[in-house]
Symmetry: C2
Subunit: 134 residues, 2 copies
């Protein structure tokens, strides 16, 4: 069982190959993510990671680590506050903020921090059902 | 420019190969999505698509079709109301529900409908900045 206020951390980074693969599987070939010449014309100056790829880390952690296998995703809120880049170390921080033991459902705050700067790039809340953990 | 209340529709389906590829790029190898024997022990009876893969359709549509290139994702809310399966035809329905012309930001309601049953599997709201369209 996972208790209220438990915190789980997960370090990760993405490569440009990951971004290309995500563009293929999602069909999102927005040049903002793929084309350095196009990205140079934007305020970001260089390609940024798809927000949905960043959010896929939430899916990975919920589905495989915390709470892990058996989790069913009910809802995800993701707020993209700062751009994210390839070959950059990030830390996902996951905090249990509510548990409904009757429904086996928890709300888990999800944050992504740029490890070098300490700045938050993404924040949101996942709502997860897991009959063994909540 | 895209007007308030404009509706955009996008039909799609996923194959099991898409699910396997998404598991690879996201790292989410939860057996609920990949292992028919495990999935048979769950209320879903067969493997379901990752919620985050379903949400990647929102990213694709926002980034490449509606509003399209130049879109910057600020926020996504996704509520997974019913399971989704491979080899099943779905329709994404996207409706502009608010526009802030000063910030060039719109809120777009996102729904996924099972074409055969008419039932809604997923709903949420995307918040998108696009300087040319809003």
């Amino acid at each position: 069982m996972i208790a209220l206020h438990t915190v789980h951390r997960h370090r990760f980074s993405f490569t440009q190959d990951d971004v290309i693969l995500f563009a293929q599987v999602s069909g999102d070939n927005n040049p903002l993510h793929l084309d350095p010449a196009f990205a140079a014309t934007t305020p970001f100056k260089r390609p940024i990671i798809h927000g949905a790829l960043a959010s896929s880390i939430f899916s990975k952690v919920m589905g495989t680590e915390f709470p892990g296998f058996g989790s069913v995703y009910l809802k995800q809120v993701s707020e993209y506050k700062r751009p994210m880049f390839v070959d950059t170390e990030y830390e996902g921080v996951f905090t249990v903020i509510s548990i409904d033991p009757n429904k086996h459902v928890a709300e888990i705050k999800c944050e992504i921090i740029d490890v070098a700067t300490g700045k938050k790039t993404t924040e949101g809340v996942a709502t997860i059902m897991n009959k063994e953990e909540f």
